[in-house]
Amino acid sequence: MNGILSVSTVLNTASAGLIVLGLYIVFTQKNLIKMVIGLDLADTGVNVLLVSTGYIKGNTAPIFSKAGLQVSQMVDPVPQALVLTSIVIGFGVSALALALIIRLYQKTGTLDTSKIRGLKW
């Protein structure tokens, strides 16, 4: 990319924005489903940050897809492996969260944390 913005700046801003937005949703919303959406957004932000750490300007994906492709022409593959793991974990946690929320809804009939008064929130 040319001009004022470099790719790293865009990625870092996007990830910081997503994380802050996600955490803001988690802390301000009272609906449990919305809180899970907030967590997902923040998770995505972290994933963007992770991928951006391996970015090297002008380099391509770390796959030997074409003959003559050198390692020095590729971006760092480690963060991409990390982010795959992180996506899977994030997916698992969201699925578990939604499953628990469904069961909680069956018991209480509400998704509003201020109305679930069993314990202190």
């Binding site: 994380i19 996600g22 955490l23 988690v26 449990l32 809180m35 899970v36 967590l39 923040a42 998770d43 972290v46 940050l49 992770l50 750490t53 480690v78 963060p79 990390l82 793991t85 992180s86 974990i89 698992g92 946690v93 578990l96 969260a97 628990l100 929320i101 069961r103 909680l104 018991k107 209480t108 679930i116 069993g118 314990l119 202190k120 929130w121």
Partner: protein, 486 residues
Amino acid sequence: MVNPILLIIIPLGTAFLISTLASALKNTTKYLALLALLANVWISISLLPEVLQRPINVIIAGVKPPVGINLFVGPLGAVFSVIISIAGVLILLYSFKYIEGEQQHKYYTLFLLLITGSHGMILTGDVFNLFVFFEILAISSYILVGYAGDKNGFEAAVKYLILGSIGSIFILVAIALIYEGTGTLNMADLAGKFSTLDPARRLMILVFFITGMGVEAAVFPLNSWLPDAHSSAPSSISAVLSGFVIEIALVVIIKFVYTIFAMTEVLGFLAVAGVITLLVGEFAAFRQSNIKRVLAYSSIGQIGLILFAMSLNSKAGINAGMMQIINHTASKSILFLTAGYMIVKTGSYQFSDYRGIAKKMPVSSFFFVLGVLSLLGVPPFFGFFSKLNIIIAALHAGGAFYITMVFLVLLGTIIESIYFLKILQVFYARDTAILDVKEAPFLPLLSIALFSLVILLGFLFLPQITSYTGNIASELVTKLQMAQVF
């Protein structure tokens, strides 16, 4: 040499075996779980003497660090593995009677996954691997908190999950920043390279990491999930969570601050956080009427005390903190496990309903008293020695600051003794309103009795125990880990 990786593989493999064979084995899956954990106890104990000679470094899949993932078993890892496996096996023994029903294989699967995550977090030598094991531990504990299937259980599980996920987001941000700055994820490699980063970034990583782990370690003000989760979970799981899960997160923080980040200047701040956590926990416990909430808040207090001891930046402090961890694991497990059957038998969580219960459940009440005495630090129980060591270490640190801290710690202990004596007074009241309550079954009592052997006879083995904990202290303070990996 037994390969330490078995400590992780055996419970993980057995967990999947149990869930596959569940329909064939019905309710005998628990014996499989017991076998796996007994193997873990044997492995971890047989590793101990070897590790004291020389830390063990396990290379996984033949790729050498810093590129590959390694396990590093130093004194800290070895001693913690012993604590995890012994506490795990005893609590599993308790669960045999306590957890009933057709679906019990799910409980044992998750229990083994929790043990897997615990061993992994303490043994791994790779920062991202730490995160993966952290998630294994966290996800299985979210589900176990809601295992009972009642409203409070689900609510506590959801709350724990949301706060725990925020914690893991912070940890992952710290890991991303670490990798961006140093280009390595291996802990030993990192320890060498971390100091090359500029101070602002180092501080940023440290804050993200401590905030993330601090959620799991229940350091104030990140501990609002703990009283709900620990009190709504089945009592056996409360014992696991209070007994070693929060301590593992705490020890990981301490290990990172001492060896990997090597930023001992933040320890003063952590010591203050510890004392605040202690006071908040004890004051909150004082006002509770639900027995499990009392115990949960008391765990927050104890975590604060351990954090304080370990943040003294001296070998004596870490030594005392480790002893306090052993004491807390044993005595808090006793308290949660005895309270578990009192709740089952009386059907009430309010300890005011247990008036005169000592007449009906004499053995349980007796063990409860033992647990309380050791937690409070009454001689000759093990807790006396650990608390005494903490106070001595803090006074050695010297200065008006630490002397004030010691006063606050003692204040916390006084509050603790007031509310526990209040409970004991109810237990041993002369009149009783409880009619047909029977003593807990034999197997749970056996597991509780084995726990109480630790606090009763601990003082006989003080030299041995301090030789192990002393090695942990030198591992952390002199950064032993870093020299031996490559």
